[in-house]
Symmetry: C2
Subunit: 203 residues, 2 copies
């Protein structure tokens, strides 16, 4: 129904894959082999004037470009999500202990989730977009966090904020402002709008 | 983990059930046997000063109260969602033909989805809440709507707007403003906040 150009999603994220599938797109998935932390550290060192949104965009484009090399005729979708707390970038927790530390840092405060998406073809970025959502975490007790982490298991190390809003993580929050797709990590409506410009029969 | 009072969801909606399950709540589901259209027509006739949000709230409370009769010790959650286009209430389409008419009316315009939720115990409303989301539909062609409806099948008659944002319906929209849970039909964060006041161990 939806497109004639070949589409590749350069991401290992299950939720991004689900979003594109739910929208009826035909695509293949090929995660980019990119050292995200090294890139973040490199660009922060080189040029501290880069905004967090610029870094998310750089990562999205880098992932798409890398995958584009082996799919020269395809539109490659790259994406990235960054968590910012008081101007500080927070990375995905490597372990459950780190997840607890991170949740303790986030509780009682408002943080930002920045999602960037880019579409690359033959190494050239044809389109890019970023959006920000703001999430306010309740000042939950450490014992609540302990129960929460025990229930969640290793799932907490799979998302940047150590929470999953589509599950028990919703209990951590008192206020969520912004686009749901941005919170999930892929601003879907702008992406579909761009894809329609490439596939006029869609409209 | 989450509560000690008995909870009943007075709704037949699959998505509302899924939202409460994902949040880890323990509850039973018992749809209220209420003639919603009759109530809407009655209150619109009696008192045209009622706002659409008042009508959604009245329906949410009525559903919860009816179910509360057979569950006197439980907290009963009632909810309702209303679609408003240019001050006009739009009902769930009864057939696929009606769904097409409705989508033709909605296209190229912005409509509101109002979601109301109420918690009733022993016939008394303990808490209630309403929220509004605004959705702007693209000016899609009738042939696109034909393809869309063919793909969706009878699913389109199950939601108030004849679209499902969690599936192909996302292609109908150019802009979505508001809380995702409100769009799905159950403002989840305020509901959880209320339930925590009843179940202090939650915090």
């Amino acid at each position: 129904m939806l497109q004639h150009e070949q589409l590749v999603l350069a991401s290992a994220s299950q939720i991004r894959k689900q979003l594109l599938e739910a929208a009826g797109l035909t695509f293949i998935t090929e995660p980019a082999n990119v050292d995200e932390d090294a890139i973040k550290q490199a660009v922060r060192g080189d040029d501290s004037t880069l905004r967090p949104a610029d870094i998310a965009q750089l990562l999205a484009q880098t992932k798409a470009s890398v995958v584009s090399e082996s799919h020269p005729d395809a539109l490659v979708i790259g994406s990235d999500q960054i968590l910012v707390l008081e101007d500080q970038l927070i990375s995905k927790p490597a372990t459950k202990d780190k997840a607890l530390d991170q949740l303790i840092e986030l509780r009682g405060k408002t943080h930002e989730l920045i999602s960037a998406v880019a579409v690359v073809c033959r190494g050239e970025t044809l389109w890019s977009y970023e959006d920000v959502a703001r999430l306010s975490m309740r000042d939950v007790s450490s014992s609540f966090l302990g129960v929460y982490l025990a229930e969640m298991g290793d799932e907490v190390t799979k998302s940047v904020g150590a929470y999953q809003l589509e599950g028990l993580g919703i209990h951590l929050f008192e206020k969520i402002e912004g686009d749901y797709f941005t919170i999930l990590g892929l601003p879907l409506l702008p992406l579909l709008t761009f894809l329609r410009t490439r596939n006029p029969p869609l409209v």
